[in-house]
Subunit: 303 residues, 2 copies
């Protein structure tokens, strides 16, 4: 079967009161943000987590063994209905080799940034997942974003459109929405842990990378042949990506790189490392209309 026609499986729609699990597969975080995030989720679902979730080891939320055990149990658990990631940062990549055979009980995983590496595990198993806020940022996001997240998890209807601010290359593209954080995604090139991107509409976002670093990661995707495989590009937030005292902007650099691919591309979607971080389903078929800077979802994430 051509990958471009891969259908990703939707997850069973959640209902209020359902049990959900919080995991910390990447970096550590403070207790206050964690508890504030748990409070947001607990208004809607029954929240479970291992007390070890608050462990720290250097820049990691505990040892690889702890994080892997916690994540494996949450993914395999047939009772819990969704997995919320506490934080990104770094560390998920360290667990990938240990997750090759994980039996994922049908359920959504929610997160972004470093969690892009975990989304690959789900998409490699043909499953839809949610590119959306991590738990420790939830309390800083507005109620509309919370509502959109709960709607995505509970409704069989397609999510509401999201719109960007800039057209980089006119055109339209359809395919499953895949991708996420540019840095994390490119750190999986050349490994067996990147989900096939053929036929996809590619989502990219990042934070704290200088324009030349964005350029370098983009060229990495190009040299790896990714822009010959995907059908369109959706650029989310690129927060804190400007060079001090530079005569050029990261947007200018990205626009030029996008133009060179010839693929439909729009930018400025409120997805990723910004103040909005609208949740969107990965693996779900979307339609990008770059000219009108509109991303439409052609099917529901839950079913």
């Amino acid at each position: 079967m051509a990958l471009s026609t891969t259908r990703y499986r939707v997850f069973p729609a959640l209902r209020p009161g359902d049990p959900v699990t919080v995991v910390a597969p990447a970096s550590g975080f403070d207790r206050a943000s964690f508890e504030a995030g748990v409070e947001v989720i607990a208004r809607r679902y029954e929240v479970h987590y291992d007390p070890g979730v608050l462990t720290r080891h250097r820049y990691l939320a505990g040892s690889d063994a702890r994080r892997l055990g916690e994540l494996w149990r949450a993914l395999a658990d047939t009772d819990t209905r969704a997995v919320f990631c506490a934080r990104g940062g770094y560390g998920m990549m360290r667990l990938l080799a240990g997750l090759e055979d994980v039996p994922v009980a049908a359920k959504p995983v929610v997160g972004f940034s470093d969690i892009t590496a975990l989304h690959q595990v789900l998409q490699q198993q043909g499953l839809v997942s949610i590119h959306g806020p991590v738990l420790t940022q939830l309390a800083r996001l507005d109620v509309h974003t919370h509502a959109r997240l709960f709607e995505l998890l509970e409704s069989e209807a397609p999510a509401a459109d999201v719109t960007g601010t800039e057209t980089y290359v006119e055109g339209t593209a359809e395919g499953p929405l895949l991708g996420g954080n540019l840095a994390v995604l490119t750190r999986l090139l050349g490994t067996p842990f990147l989900a096939p991107l053929k036929g996809a509409v590619l989502l990219l976002e990042d934070i704290g990378e200088r324009p030349y670093q964005l350029d370098r990661m983009w060229i990495h995707l190009e040299l790896a042949g990714v822009f010959r495989q995907v059908r369109g590009i959706v650029l989310g937030e690129f927060a804190h990506c400007e060079e001090k005292n530079a005569e050029y902007s990261s947007a200018e650099v990205l626009r030029e790189l996008a133009a060179a691919t010839g693929l439909p591309c729009a930018a400025g979607f409120p997805i990723g490392h910004g103040t909005h971080n609208q949740p969107v389903p990965l693996g779900v078929r979307v339609r990008l209309d770059a000219g009108s800077r509109r991303l439409s979802f052609l099917e529901g994430a839950a079913g």
Copy 2:
């Protein structure tokens, strides 16, 4: 032929007075450092360069077309006897797709950092090259380093040993020395532009990467299977790689990552982004004795 037994071709030994060419395939730089570097080389060789070498475009030394044209001509030129790179920074990766068929007239290329990407072109053609100072830093290095560089270019004898400061994993390994800058090398994983590393003694160095970023790049190498291919690891300088107010060091992180590979590994070699940057030949067979932190060269780079 097994890659582990690949023999890289030495370059014809230079003689004082030989014509050499300076190129700028990556980032731009100031005229003063450039002229100071030219002066160091001009004491020994007849230095040529295109006036366009001082062009700037954003973070690049001029457009891709300018840099590619300049580099192609220098590599193909049958009169010039060596190519010195003016600076690293970023930009070499952008030229790789344009260099696939470049007819390299037998000669050494000298540079490091972003020039790691150019060394891949040479090694993919089976040629020895020189991991060593870029021209714009030459005037800041001592006369012993200059002498070592000229010796490497002119002598058929193996280079003098270099020694590190730390043993991370005891053991010995032999193979061609390959690699260079960790960030640049890992940006070529999953592309057709990385020279085969099988059987190599892998050189890694970097600057300005936080410990978690070194970890991420190292795990990228691991997930791509590189540590199943190489025989030993030589760690050069990791300058400005510490996290502010952290309880852990980049050395501690690298030591733990190295231990997990089980490969002979020594660190603290004065190679790369430090104040010494001793030139070493890539592609030449070396012997790493990690226990005594010694890297020995088993053959000359020139012949």
